[in-house]
């Protein structure tokens, strides 16, 4: 009898990986079009007067001349 288990596992893993990347890409694109993701230029445009913009992985800190606000 031929051994199919390894092949089935490998094919399943590949299918899930491809679906993962495709669905992830679609969701990121959707989020970008909804405005949930912004480019660095867009943020700089929004806070022209800011003294400094610090970018972290999940947040952006805008340092104004007088106050410091975290968004």
């Amino acid at each position: 009898m031929k051994k199919y288990t390894n092949k089935i596992l490998l094919i399943t893993l590949i299918i899930i990986a491809v679906l993962f990347v495709v669905i992830g890409t679609v969701e990121i694109r959707k989020a970008y079009h909804k405005g949930e993701i912004k480019t660095l230029e867009e943020i700089q445009e929004m806070h022209k007067d800011a003294e400094k913009i610090i970018v972290y992985t999940d947040s952006v800190v805008v340092v104004d001349k007088e106050t410091e606000s975290e968004e």
Partner: protein, 243 residues
């Protein structure tokens, strides 16, 4: 599928293993008893559930231990029952019998802890903390994990539980690479590099997620499919081992 064969397999399992099972259930009840008493009267269900889950995930290794060495393997494979019947029998044992045993042991441990505290003059356990309000997806997740360990116990030859955990971690690492790849393909990055941060960054209220209903449906369907998938694969692997 002959129910008589399944009944015979169950009978032979209980004859061979009732002492070990009783011992394990006793150990679990003792762990829950002492753990709960030490945890204090205001404890909750997390501790008994965690310990039970560890017991449950190790259990399939014992169910198929005959497959892990040569001479018992030949004996097990030559038992007059089909591979389907053997898989179904072990499924019944892992998904019903052992889970019921674990629940009874936990309840016993908790009741004994409650009585002990009462005898010592305390108020006893705050029993409302022990009302289980687990959701369907959580329960389905437990059954899906059990199916994975079940398959692992047939697939691997030695230290099946550890091997399954190891491969699971490896697949997790592959998927974390895929997350980075997906972000990179879309001009996003998770690594902050000051000005050279990338074309796009996460916005302030970034929460990319599909709708709740869709997420739930996908979760339930995905988990159910994975349970069926791993048991079907277990059957196939057992057939291959026989060949």
């Amino acid at each position: 599928m002959n129910t008589k064969n399944i009944a015979n397999l169950l009978k032979s399992y209980f004859i061979e293993n009732w002492k070990t099972d009783l011992f394990q259930f006793g150990i679990l009840a003792a762990i829950v008893l002492f753990g709960t008493i030490m945890n204090g009267r205001g404890g909750n269900l997390n501790f008994p559930i965690m310990v039970s889950l560890i017991f449950l995930m190790i259990y399939p290794e014992r169910l198929f231990r005959n497959l892990h060495s040569n001479s018992p393997k030949i004996h097990y494979l030559s038992i007059p029952a089909s591979n389907g019947e053997k898989v179904v029998t072990n499924m019944l044992l892992a998904n019903i019998y052992y889970i019921v045993g674990l629940v009874i042991s936990c309840v016993l441990g908790l009741v004994l802890a409650h009585l002990y505290l009462k005898v010592r003059g305390y108020d006893g356990l705050c029993l409302h903390n022990f009302m289980f309000d687990g959701n369907g997806a959580g329960i389905l997740m437990i059954f899906a994990s059990l199916a994975v360990f079940f398959f692992g116990s047939i697939y691997f030859r030695r230290r099946t539980t550890l091997s399954t955990i190891g491969v699971g971690m490896l697949i997790g690492m592959i998927f974390s690479v895929l997350v980075t790849l997906t972000l990179w393909l879309n001009g996003l990055t998770l690594i902050p590099k000051d000005a050279a941060f990338g074309d796009y960054i996460w916005s302030f209220d970034s929460s990319i997620s599909i709708s709740d209903t869709m997420e739930k449906v996908m979760m339930y369907v995905g988990l159910s499919v994975s349970i069926i998938y791993f048991y079907a694969l277990s059957f196939l692997r057992l057939k291959e081992t026989e060949a």
